[in-house]
Point group: C2
Chain length 340, copies 2
């Protein structure tokens, strides 16, 4: 496999914490001599080599963290997660004298180029890795560039970086369980793009909750998280010969567009159709009917990610963090399944 | 008055461009000797003194621009202008090897502290000044810190910085004229907070368009640009003994919340109430009914602001830019005034 030996591997083998391994490998005081010797022995056995990342960690000086977002500008403007996340990051950085360097780029290729530039310019000490992909390629890129990172959720590829995780799957499961309890048996899903890990996880949550209740999964329409996509998907679902009685959307923006399509077509929400969003954006409570949605605390996520990345930069190790589970906020857009 | 003499003053008096003045004062080649001599004479006559700002300009090295936003995090997440603006800024910065340093702070005091920190850390060569206030205090602060800036719109206080302007007043005027042409004579306004210059200008546009048509201004409710505020304002207006037949909102978020309140109260849009927003966010076309709104190109605004700030940093002078006028996008939320 040629898999890189990480500090975590050494820690597991030596039976010590990742922090202790980091201290030993970086020759920092605070460890008993025999512990240090054992760790170095294990590291040697396993073939651990100091990466350029580790070297960068030892000499970090920029006092700035980076965020490179590969999103089409027009979609970025429609996603309320991102500014709330940044605001959360800032609550920590501002107190620590750290700056945030932001880049918005059109695609993954430009994102890779952005990281290379951040490294060559010495602009940042570490970066936030958002919007993880299925078969995530960027973790390896960052490791090879020696650019430390914190990832939002755990990538599906090996990663030596700490992760701050929010369990989106259980949030969606709660939404489906709520619909099942209301008698719905034909529950559709409007999913985000397949290549995004969070989109895949939301879809998996929807599917597994239905499977556990022995209810066959309703139709799925995959779109792009945009209002326009949500509208189109809703039209498609409502035009089916046997349309769903409930739709779980992968974000609020698509769900709000779905409410509008239902209103336009004269489909009453929630009497004839229940609608669930994801994010609990500020607008969710102020559409008609108010949107039942899964509430994610993007602000807390940003603050925790910043905290974790700074810890990682300081101690060369940081534990993964699991945020409190997302909650379901029940409002007027969901109701009992219609009797046919 | 003690008003500072600016490069613009010297340029006007000497009958040359601001660029020529900058070249002369910074002893850069490319000017005829007699022109240079005349400019220096005029500068001397008027009492022009090199500011710390000008000194900073000559030694700018950070190759980064700053944006400090004083907004409560939860409101930031609800404002689609900001990410689109940043994306526009990035289209220019990424091509010029410049980075964007972003700070999100809770209030104006923290914003001032943010600028001081950016200067003392030498992090940025210049900043974007957004959300201008009525009696704008920050221009003077930035000048005293020697931190060059570009302002979004012209501040109401003297400023030596270039401004990139979008005429929001004429956008709102078009919206009001559209409603007047539809026969509306009781047109309300849901305004943004008084202290923001753009909120004041939108309100002024609404008021002057009505005044010119000799229609008395309808009621005004001032709120905070939030969905919740827009909902509350709409309830207040629709509860009046003589409610308006049309409402012009200072942003889309409040207008969308207004549509929901109307739906909840059984007030038909547009048959009984016409609704106009401002921003033309991506969601505007996908609510029910689709929202008539004033379209502002935040992406172009960001790109132009970045271009202007870089020009200013390079040449120590840059002309103000007036963006193409905002357009009115007519959709289903406006219709003929109801007959009573």
């Amino acid at each position: 496999m040629g898999k890189r030996v990480t500090i975590a591997d050494v820690a597991a083998q030596a039976g010590v914490s990742k922090g202790a391994v980091s201290f030993a490998l970086n020759d920092r005081p605070g460890l008993a001599d025999d512990t240090r010797a054992r760790i170095l022995e294990v590291a040697d056995e396993l073939g651990w080599r100091p990466s350029s990342r580790a070297r960068a960690l030892s000499t970090s000086r920029a006092l700035a963290l980076g965020l490179v977002l590969a999103r089409p500008p027009e979609l970025l403007g429609a996603d309320p997660f991102f500014p709330a996340f940044i605001a959360g990051v800032e609550t920590v950085l501002s107190q620590r004298g750290q700056a945030l360097v932001l880049q918005v780029v059109p695609d993954l290729e430009a994102e890779a180029e952005g990281y290379r530039r951040l490294v060559s310019d010495g602009r940042v000490d570490g970066v936030f890795l958002l919007d993880l992909r299925v078969h995530e390629p960027r973790v390896q890129l960052l490791e090879s560039l020696g650019l430390p990172a914190v990832t939002l959720n755990k990538p599906d590829s090996p990663s030596s970086f700490p992760a701050v995780c929010s369990d989106s799957e259980s949030g969606i499961r709660r939404a489906v369980e709520h619909l099942l309890a209301l008698g719905h048996r034909r529950v559709a899903h409007v999913a985000g793009p397949d290549e995004f890990a969070h989109a895949a996880r939301r879809r998996a949550g929807w599917e597994s909750a239905l499977a556990e209740a022995c209810v066959p999964p309703g139709p799925v329409v995959v779109c792009d998280f945009s209002a326009e996509g949500g509208a189109r998907a809703t039209r498609e679902l409502l035009a089916l010969a046997d349309p769903p009685t409930a739709v779980v959307y992968a974000n609020d923006v698509m769900a709000i567009a779905g409410l509008a399509v239902a209103a336009e077509l004269g489909v009453k929400v929630p009497d004839e159709l229940s609608v669930v969003g994801y994010d609990d954006t500020l607008l969710a409570a102020h559409v008609h009917p108010p949107l039942t949605t899964v509430s994610v605390d993007a602000l807390a996520w940003g603050a925790q990610a910043a905290q974790t990345l700074l810890t990682y930069l300081e101690h060369h190790a940081a534990d993964d963090v699991l945020l409190p589970p997302a909650t379901l906020v029940v409002r007027g857009s969901t109701g009992p399944a219609p009797t046919r």
